[in-house]
C-alpha cells in the first residue's frame, strides 16, 4: 500500500485506528474485512478480486485522514461503498484486466503429465494432513462428507444427533476442521512446488 506516493505512509495505522481503537481488535477486523471484500468481488464475478481489494484499501488509504474525523457510522460500510464503485468501474471495462502478477509470472499450459503429477502430490498431501487430525476429527469429516444430496442431509442430522449438537453447530465444527485440513494441504502442495 505504501508503494503509491499518494498514499500517506501512516494510512495503514489510521485505517486500523478507524476500524477499532484497540489495535489487536482492529487488526483482526482488518484481516476479516480484506477477506470479506475479496468475497464480495468474487460473488459479483469480478476478474481479479484480490487486486480490487487492494485497490479499495489504496483508495481509502488516500482519504482516511480526512474521513476519519467526520465519517459517521460503521467504517466497513464506507469500504463497501468504495468496493461498489470499483465493481461498476470494473464492469465498464470490456477487457478483463490481467494482473501484473500474471504478466510477470505467465503460467505454462499444463500437460497431462503435470496434471497426473499434481494428482499424486494432492493424494500424498491429503494423506499426510489427515494423519495430523485426531481420530475423532477424521471420523467427523468422514461422517460429514461421505454422502451426497438428500442422503447427505439425513446423514448430517443423524450425526448431529449422535454428537448431541445442532446441525448448525456440526456445520461450523466440520467447516473448521476442513478449513484446517485445506490449509495444511495448500501448504504441503506449495512445498511440493505445485502452486504458482
Amino acid at each position: 500500500m505504501a508503494q503509491d506516493p499518494e498514499i500517506p505512509p501512516d494510512s495503514f495505522d489510521e485505517i486500523l485506528a478507524w476500524l477499532d481503537p484497540d489495535r489487536e481488535v482492529a487488526a483482526n477486523l482488518y484481516v476479516r474485512l480484506r477477506a470479506d471484500l475479496t468475497n464480495i468481488f468474487k460473488w459479483k464475478g469480478c476478474a481479479d478480486p484480490d487486486g480490487l481489494t487492494d485497490e479499495v484499501f489504496d483508495r481509502v488509504g488516500k482519504k482516511v485522514h480526512e474521513l476519519r474525523p467526520t465519517y459517521e457510522g460503521d467504517p466497513r460500510l464506507y469500504f463497501r461503498a468504495v468496493a461498489n464503485n470499483l465493481i461498476k468501474e470494473d464492469f465498464k471495462k470490456v477487457r478483463i484486466q490481467v494482473s501484473l502478477e500474471d504478466l510477470l509470472d505467465l503460467p505454462q499450459p499444463a500437460t497431462s503429465e503435470d496434471v497426473d503429477e499434481e494428482a499424486v502430490d494432492m493424494d500424498e498431501c491429503l494423506r499426510s494432513c489427515l494423519q495430523k487430525l485426531s481420530a475423532k476429527n477424521r471420523d467427523l469429516i468422514v461422517g460429514y462428507y461421505a454422502k451426497e444430496k438428500q442422503a447427505k442431509i439425513d446423514r448430517r442430522s443423524e450425526l448431529a444427533r449422535q454428537l448431541g449438537v445442532t446441525v448448525p453447530t456440526l456445520r461450523v465444527r466440520a467447516f473448521r476442521i476442513r478449513e484446517g485440513l485445506q490449509k495444511c494441504i495448500e501448504d504441503c502442495l506449495k512445498r511440493q512446488g505445485n502452486c504458482e
Binding site: 460473488w43 466497513r76 478483463i96 503460467p107 497431462s112 491429503l126 489427515l130 469429516i141 467447516f175
Partner: protein
Amino acid sequence: MKEEFMTGAFLREFLLGELADEDRERIESLYLTDDETRERVLDAEQDLIEDYLEGSLSREETERFVLRYARTFEQRQKLRITKSIKDWAVTEEGKAQTAAAPASIVRGPQSRLRLRPVLVVPIAAMIVIAIMLAIVWRNSQLKERQHLKVEQELAQLNSPASMQEIPPQMTSLELKPVTVRGIAPQTQFNPDAEFRIVELHLPWIQTERYPTYQAKISKLGDDVSFTISNLQAQDSGEYMVRIRLRVELLSKGNYQICLRGISADGVVSSCEEYKFVVNN
C-alpha cells in the same frame, strides 16, 4: 427483517450474482457488519460449493459458479482440495461398510446363518452385486475425475495469461459460424504428430460484444463435452474468440462448438455454433 428475505435460495442467487443491485447491496452491507448474516452467507457458499462438486447445479448455475469460483489457479486448487477431501470421505465410508458387512455375517447372527445354508446363496449374490456396484461407482468416479482434470487443463491452457503466450508446436484452424458457412464444406483438421496444440479461431458475428465468452466443445455421438469459461475476444481486424485444445484430446469424428457471450451482469447470449471434422 433479516429473516424475511435471507432464505437459502435467495443467498444462492446472491452468491451467483443473480440479485438486483438493491438486494445485493443490502446483503453485502449486512455481510460486512452482522456476524449472523456473515455466517449464513458463508454457510450458503459451502452448500453451493458442495452442490457444484456433486454435480447438482443446473447448467446455468454451473456456468455462473465457474465464472466466480474456478477463475484463478488458486480457486481451482481450492476446489480440487475440497473434492479430494470429499472423495476420501466417500472412499473411507465405503471401506468401513465393506469391512462391516462380512464382520456382521461372522460376528452377528453367525450361528443362525451357519445353520441355514439356504441363505448363503442370496447373501453371496448380494455381495457380488455390491462389489459390481462398487466397481461401477468407482469407474464413474474415475471418469468424473478425469473429466474434471481435462476441464482444469483446458481452463489453464485458455487463461488470459496463457493466451498471450505462443507455445511451440501449435497450429491454428479457422472456423466459420454454422449460420454463415452456408453450403461450404466443413473445416477439416488432420492431426499431425508435429503439433501438440491447435488454436481454433471463432469469429464472433453477433452485434453484441461481451467481456467474456464460454465455449462448450462436444463430439457428435458422444455424451462427453468440455466447457471453457472466461475466454476473451480479440479484435485484430476480425472480432474473434480463440480457444486452444490439446491435439491428443481430438479423436476422429465430428465436433461442435457452442460459443456464448457472458455479459458483465452474468446474462448469457444465444449460442453461436461452429463445426469441424477431425480425420484419422
